[in-house]
Amino acid sequence: MSAVEAFAPRATLNIRDVSKSYVVDEKPLPVLRNIALDVQPGEFVSIVGASGCGKSTLLRLVVGLDADYEGEILLNGRRIEGPGRERGIVFQEHRLFPWLTVEDNIALGLDGSDEPQHVLDKRVRDNIALVGLAGFEKAYPHQLSGGMAQRAAIARSLVTQPAILLLDEPLGALDSITRAYLQKELLRIWQQERVTVIMVTHDVDEAVFLSDRVVVMEPRPGRIRSIVPVGLTHPRQRASVEFARVKGEILRDLSGE
């Protein structure tokens, strides 16, 4: 039934009192202040907040692209050091290599693996099927629509079977219909893979539809204002009173009342 056989290993993420500044014009620009967040294995957490409040920066710290911060980020109790294949990320832009086909892009994550080639090939195939791109293995990125490219990027991040998947506004650039469709797909993939997900989004509706908890951030410097548990069973009905209530609560926190 499951397209991808092996389930992701379980992972607990602890973000402890993390602060981060960039240096702009030789002056420190505080971007994140005292961020504290614990994410349980298999949880789906969304982060919402005004643009510029440090959401992407936080994901970059967790994925290990930037080690210059204060505080601690622990994965299963151990401090993260640099990128690792147990953490996958889908950037806001798909960032597929334009000179590689869909399957070669996805296979990149398996580079250097010592498993036999037919196992690796199967994992690529399975992940292509998982994101619904079967038949497009040999296509180049310029031949894909925005939604398809984003799916390929998701497959590329999942092929390593990460314990944690970080998504940075993965559906932000898509039209609303494609978006609603891919939200359902994300839900299906998350349930199927049981991977821990942290997703940045500016769409409160999307956050409530998908997440177990929604982290609301406020800007300058980026801080956590509140963490809202959603507490609704899947599949969620956008038109329901409960859905609207949670959404209202998040919107209220966002506007800072």
């Binding site: 640099g82 990128p83 960032r95 290599f97 590689l100 791109l133 180049y140």
Partner: protein
């Protein structure tokens, strides 16, 4: 579902209209040439009728020398280009891939690049005489700079975003080179090779012309001029341009095929 996977349309194959438009100017020149030479406007010693030029390499005693001359030039071009372009890609690649190499070699490279190539000819003849050696070195130098510069630009132009992907996916050094650096720089390297081939071709003929001595299209021109054979000179210039044109067309065709991943609106 609006996101139904479907492929973007394939690129159109061959653009006959563009070729037609490209022939307008040469066509006009041929017509004007014919009108002028046959209209008795100019003494035929200075401007030669086009049909005589075309017949020359097959009928005329001096004209048939074109073939061995052309062959000799092309051999020089191939050797010089091969040496210069590979050295250029190697140096440009090194400077593009390593900040350290860039800092160490960049200033000298850029200083040398400023020197007009032609200025090297007296030096080269002083050092190596006027045989094949200085000519091939000159051709190699002509190819070297554009190949090096464009390889460097190609590597430096690869988006930092892709390097982030490479580190998130923990790509090995070899995979980085094969799947990111090389293909990422390739379009620019190809542009460099195309320019290098053209400059190497001009370098071939001009070094032959400037250094004299020995077979080659440059020598062919030189002799024609010495014997006041305007028709031979014109033939040489036409062939010089024709080879350059063929290099351009051939490169564009080959490189477009090799860069199929770009599609038509790269």
């Amino acid at each position: 579902m609006s996101d139904a996977p479907s492929l973007r349309s394939a690129r159109p194959s061959f653009n006959a209209g563009a070729l037609g438009r490209g022939l307008v100017i040469p066509g006009l020149i041929v017509i004007a040439w014919t009108v002028v030479t046959h209209g008795g406007l100019v003494s035929s010693n200075l401007l030669v009728p086009i049909e005589r030029i075309i017949a020359l390499p097959f009928t005329d005693e001096a004209g048939v020398q074109l073939w061995p001359a052309l062959l000799a030039s092309i051999v020089r071009l191939i050797f010089g280009f091969a040496i210069g372009a590979s050295a250029g890609i190697a140096l440009g690649g090194l400077m593009g891939a390593s900040r350290l190499a860039d800092r160490a070699l960049g200033p000298s490279f850029n200083a040398l690049r400023q020197i007009t190539l032609f200025a090297w000819i007296p030096l080269l003849t002083a050092w190596f005489g006027n045989g094949d050696m200085p000519k091939i070195i000159y051709v190699a130098m002509s190819a070297f700079f554009p190949a090096a510069l464009n390889s460097y630009i190609g590597l430096r132009g690869i988006s930092a975003q892709y390097f982030e992907v490479a580190s998130v996916l923990r790509l090995s050094r070899l995979t980085r080179i094969r799947k990111l650096l090389l293909p990422g720089a390739l379009p620019s390297i190809f542009v460099g090779l195309q320019i290098a081939l053209i400059t190497a071709w001009l370098g071939t003929v001009s070094s032959e012309y400037a250094m004299g001595n020995g077979r080659g299209l440059g020598g062919f021109l030189l002799e024609g001029r010495g014997q006041f054979r305007m028709d031979v000179v014109v033939l040489g210039v036409v062939v010089l341009a024709l080879v350059g044109y063929l290099i351009n067309v051939g490169c564009a065709k080959v490189f477009r095929r090799l860069l199929a991943w770009q599609g038509d609106n790269k």
